[in-house]
Symmetry: C2
Subunit: 415 residues, 2 copies
Amino acid sequence: MSLITELAQAARNASRQLAILDSDSKNQVLQAMSSALRANQEVILAANLKDLDAAKANGLSEAMLDRLTLTPARINAMADGIDTIVKLADPVGLRRELGTRPNGIKVSKLRVPLGVVCMIYEARPNVTADAGALCFKSGNAVILRGGKEALGSSLAIAAVLQQVLRLFNLPEALITVVPDPDRALMLELLQQRQTIDLVIPRGGEGLINFVTDNSKIPVIQHFKGVCHLYVDRAADVEKALNLLLNGKTQRTGVCNALEGLLVHKEIAPVWLPIAAQALKDKGVKINCDAASAAYFAQPTVLTDEQFGAEYLGLEIAIRQVDSLDGAMNHIARFGSHHTEVICTEDLQAAAQFQQAVDASVVMVNASSRFSDGAELGLGAEIGIATTKLHAYGPMGLESLTTEKYLVNGAGQIRD
Amino acid sequence: MSLITELAQAARNASRQLAILDSDSKNQVLQAMSSALRANQEVILAANLKDLDAAKANGLSEAMLDRLTLTPARINAMADGIDTIVKLADPVGLRRELGTRPNGIKVSKLRVPLGVVCMIYEARPNVTADAGALCFKSGNAVILRGGKEALGSSLAIAAVLQQVLRLFNLPEALITVVPDPDRALMLELLQQRQTIDLVIPRGGEGLINFVTDNSKIPVIQHFKGVCHLYVDRAADVEKALNLLLNGKTQRTGVCNALEGLLVHKEIAPVWLPIAAQALKDKGVKINCDAASAAYFAQPTVLTDEQFGAEYLGLEIAIRQVDSLDGAMNHIARFGSHHTEVICTEDLQAAAQFQQAVDASVVMVNASSRFSDGAELGLGAEIGIATTKLHAYGPMGLESLTTEKYLVNGAGQIRD
């Protein structure tokens, strides 16, 4: 058996033991993991230092080096993250009664772990602890395949978590870091559909597409975030301005930042001059339709096909629309099913927008930046799904589980 | 744009109109479809006759000809199926409140259609009506790609349904039959991940594997059904016998038939002789472990690796186990995540089995043959999932939907 088949099979076997562990026991283990991370900072930092030296020698960008760097504060933050997960309700074991059939058999559904989850991610050592703890709490074994630059750090973190597993007589294979960054092994990993139930890639669009194209295992996909704010004719001028600035400038480079602004033509003459000044003050580069060009100094005028870009920076696309329908048509065409926002005081328009817009999060009078597991109250987040199968939007513990049917009879047979 | 891209795009556009239709309107359309199928029997039967003539000329097997054949009674059964779907509760529009965050934003989830569903199936014209109606009720456009032998019949059925859509000013593209059976076009269909949300293959393992291997769109998979009955030491002898005979012989060739029998060694001396006689009376071919061979006349003795076959006929694999754990280990190794049954009067053993066995349906004292959407109370069934993502087990209307997040604020922004 190859290394990959073997570790996937070991994870599958281990997952059966975890699936039947009760919540209290799982929380005890997680608490011990949090303490162990805090107690073993030195060894984790030493491994991280080696990763950093190699990464600098290989000329990694400053941004990537920053994501790779661990500090005592960052290790404490990982431990805090696990403490948060301890406090979350455990979805496993929840039972819904579906009813009794005419023949007397009772049908219900029981929430159970998926089994084995595989995370594919870039050089972020914190994902090792975060995903490890989320999968553990939801009763799943996890196989972690992170970026090669962070391999030493990930192995050190996993070693600490595995030490705790041993202490509780649980198999180490519940949390496995793939020890070899060879791309061929990652491809092999993506073929293990007998033993792995779900693959979650986290990273840029290139990584997501690579995993989607090569996986025989179901993949939860998070494509780009092209989020819009639609300022309705019944919008509150000040709220609209706050939502625009917060969505576009509070943090750029994240998937829930605004990339597009749609403005009802009736409110444009009043509101766009104010918005233009505020965007100018924040240094936001303007791309807009011809109708709106006069409101801005030196905008880039976009043709119809040029809308829909994910700028990930201080840049935005602005367009006027004739109606709510016009806004919704634009979003259907250029949105990415991530997060869409309407700003309006018209309850009917708000309801219509929320019903009809096809996005994982549809907001009324709230910043797109709230589209995040922690902000929506899920606790920690294992990812955001922009496709609709299994999960749609921020994914918490429940997304790492499924429901099986239970049937209880008294010997009934089928006619 | 190619034919396939065009029809997928048309389905996507049409789906937006259907997604916002209320339940009453959808039911009116479905009722009209049912009536139209009954009223247009002649034209459907004429198209079917042409399909049958061609199929006979091509030497199709009797079994396939039978599945292909339509009769007035079968068309009425299709219409009855639609009438049943009318009566089912509509999952679309159900809203769950998740709570209000400390900053005052309200978070909820709204159940919405997936969008566009693609069915890939063999030469069964009835799937065209069944899947068309299920997808319509759940608010989805559907693209139907059935076996080429039934193409004329499928097109005739779809034409009747589309006539009703036109009558209600709804786009015909809500129900599309791919008009060309070319395999290359099917492959192209499986690439349309921008416009199609889900692919459901229905048919043999070869078809499922072909679709899984070639699809860029999420696929709900239904692999084989290797279902076991475990007769515990605390089993009721008569119930166990009934469950065995019903599961194995009431209908063979179906995925929820029993393929394996596990018997606790303490009950084997009492129960296996009775079971052996009953199986002999029904003409069931026996494969078993060495320990059980003496109970049967001329059994085939299986080695360890030979268990796990899907016989789909009057044939079964029998093994004795030392304990409940032994039974569950066998199932973990050889089961197919479809349906597993325990026969026992020991409530604790029953509970342990239901918790720990990883199958989409886990039963206590009930026949595996109940593992079916209609029998479990889902109404109609679009398929059975034996993988855990999105759906696990029989899939009804709810499985054709997803949930999006709704956020309602008063202008809140993120710090």
